[in-house]
Symmetry: C2
């Protein structure tokens, strides 16, 4: 590979001049022209390792989350990727964190400086994670619930409000007995959605019990299918809210098989509004948590922070939106 030295020789100038041309510092017109010609000629590309070593910047941003099999994270990744693609930063992806240990290990490697910033959406809460994030020397944008004691840029979606919208919508359309199929309550979303559900139900004076509140073992369709099959009697309910669309898809599948009519017998509402929601039959009413938009916002926050490291920490809250489809209205 051609180095800056080779370009300098070819152009008959010093390496300093080549560097200046590349980095846009002043240079005489004809110098610049010769340098550019040499660069083209040799197909020169600045070595990123050398550059990174010198300027202490990798031009890379790391995006970390639990798992790419969740379409909501795919949407987020798309948002981040889109925004980053018009910047100088590359996207490095780090997913598949099945345990707190793995996140901790990953966070520790951040010290190597291979990324200038970290956008992270941790599914688990753990003091170690919070501690490590706080100690990172690089900018961090956290997507999701901020752990205790962490103070970084944050993009947050008010999923409680979303759940509330869903419940109110169901009540307004005449439903009275609402069940909830949650994901693992060991996760942040699981815990938060459980709390939000119970709060809204109480506020609206709606009855609910442990038996109307199921916990699936994952945020997947299969888990949703298994979860709904554990209800003693579906006839006790006229509506089910699922903690995400994938769970809802599984639940819907079960209903179809058991000839439970949706929405006539039971209304079904999901969360996330992934593409799937409009392809199911009946189409699925869902609370749009704007994952792609959150990804874009997170990336923009990161770019701003990188450009201006000392600006005050920002928290951006995204409002969910209820997308009403066939699964909840006759």
């Amino acid at each position: 590979m051609a180095t800056i030295g080779a370009v300098a020789k070819q152009a008959g100038v010093s390496i300093a001049s080549v560097s200046r041309v590349i980095n846009g510092t002043a240079a005489r017109a004809d110098t610049e022209k010769r340098v550019r010609a040499a660069i083209d000629d040799l197909g020169y590309q600045p070595n990123s390792a050398a550059r990174a070593l010198k300027v202490r910047q990798s031009e890379q941003i790391c995006l970390s989350f639990d798992d790419l099999s969740n379409p909501a994270y795919v949407l987020m990744t798309r948002g981040v990727g889109q925004t980053l693609s018009s910047s100088k930063y590359r996207l490095i992806l780090s997913s598949a964190f099945s345990s707190v240990e793995e996140i901790v290990k990953h966070l520790e490697t951040m010290g190597r400086g291979f990324a200038d910033g970290l956008i992270i959406s941790p599914i688990y809460s753990d003091p170690r994670i919070a501690e490590l994030i706080s100690q990172l020397k690089m900018p961090v944008v956290l997507v999701g619930t901020m752990p205790e004691g962490v103070n970084v840029d944050n993009v947050y979606v008010d999923s409680a409000a979303g759940l509330d919208m869903a419940i109110k919508h169901l009540v307004e359309t005449g439903r009275k007995n609402i069940a909830f199929i949650n994901g693992p309550v060991a996760t942040n979303p699981g815990r938060r959605r459980k709390a939000a559900f119970e709060k809204s139900m109480k506020q609206l004076n709606l009855a609910f019990s442990n038996s109307s509140n199921l916990q699936a073992e994952a945020f997947t369709p299969e888990a949703g299918y298994r979860a709904i099959s554990e209800f003693r009697d579906l006839k006790n309910f006229d509506a089910i809210i699922c903690a995400n669309d994938q769970l809802a898809a599984g639940a819907m599948k079960f209903c179809v098989e058991k000839r439970v009519a949706i929405p006539r017998d039971i209304a079904l509402v999901g969360i996330d509004n992934i593409d799937l929601a409009s392809l199911l039959r009946p189409t699925l009413t869902s609370v749009d948590l704007r994952a792609e938009e959150r990804g874009q916002i997170a990336a923009r926050l990161m770019l701003k922070r990188l450009a201006n490291p000392d600006s005050p920490v920002k928290k951006i809250t995204v409002q969910p939106q209820l997308i009403i489809r066939e699964s909840s209205v006759a």
Copy 2:
């Protein structure tokens, strides 16, 4: 951030010794112990830019493809990510290539050395792309159809065989008039699937014409919906094959709305076997192109090539599998 020098001072040894301990070269037991203690103490992490500069390796692998909104690529990304996560390599993602220009630009930046290898799945064929890939100094694994004149590791799925399986399955289950909804024929998959469809149809002596061969403007459900609505009369057909599951989902939606019964009036078959296929109603018969597995294989090929740069070029062919579901059998 602590440097290797700081560790050396703290441990009372030379930086060379620290380096040796880190890289596992011989060292006396007590030297090693002191160095390790110092490393722990200072929370030292080797700087990856400096290391990359010296050893000419970035420990990063770049995965490039068209677009993350296609679930098949998400599967592939998962496969690659999984395999890479148990290696020392990081995954850098480069998607959203809407034009040949962008791919060319991206390929040119590869010369910067920020990645040790490139796994690429180009949706477009272009001589410039082929040329650039051939000239890259780094290992490349190509997922998909090899362009003319390119000679790199390749993982290939015999989608023609898959299409053939689908057609035979339809014929065996009594279908006679088979239509094909293709994606953009400007793309590699589009072109190949068109050719494969026509070849299989001829071989089986099945009638088909231009009017039974539609071209959607993208590989999306919306495009599938619009495409199927352009058939003059659906009654002319008793089966439709779609170039991917997303197109099929759109087509299915249209059929549901128009009260065309699937599979009674029309059988529907998709390609890719993404999660969606088993969630649709009716569930969708689909040709599994094993995207996730191809991702794993591609990553493994890359790791092998990196470990052994001079081994002969490999081509691994993956066999598709027809997953029969409700949309094609009564």
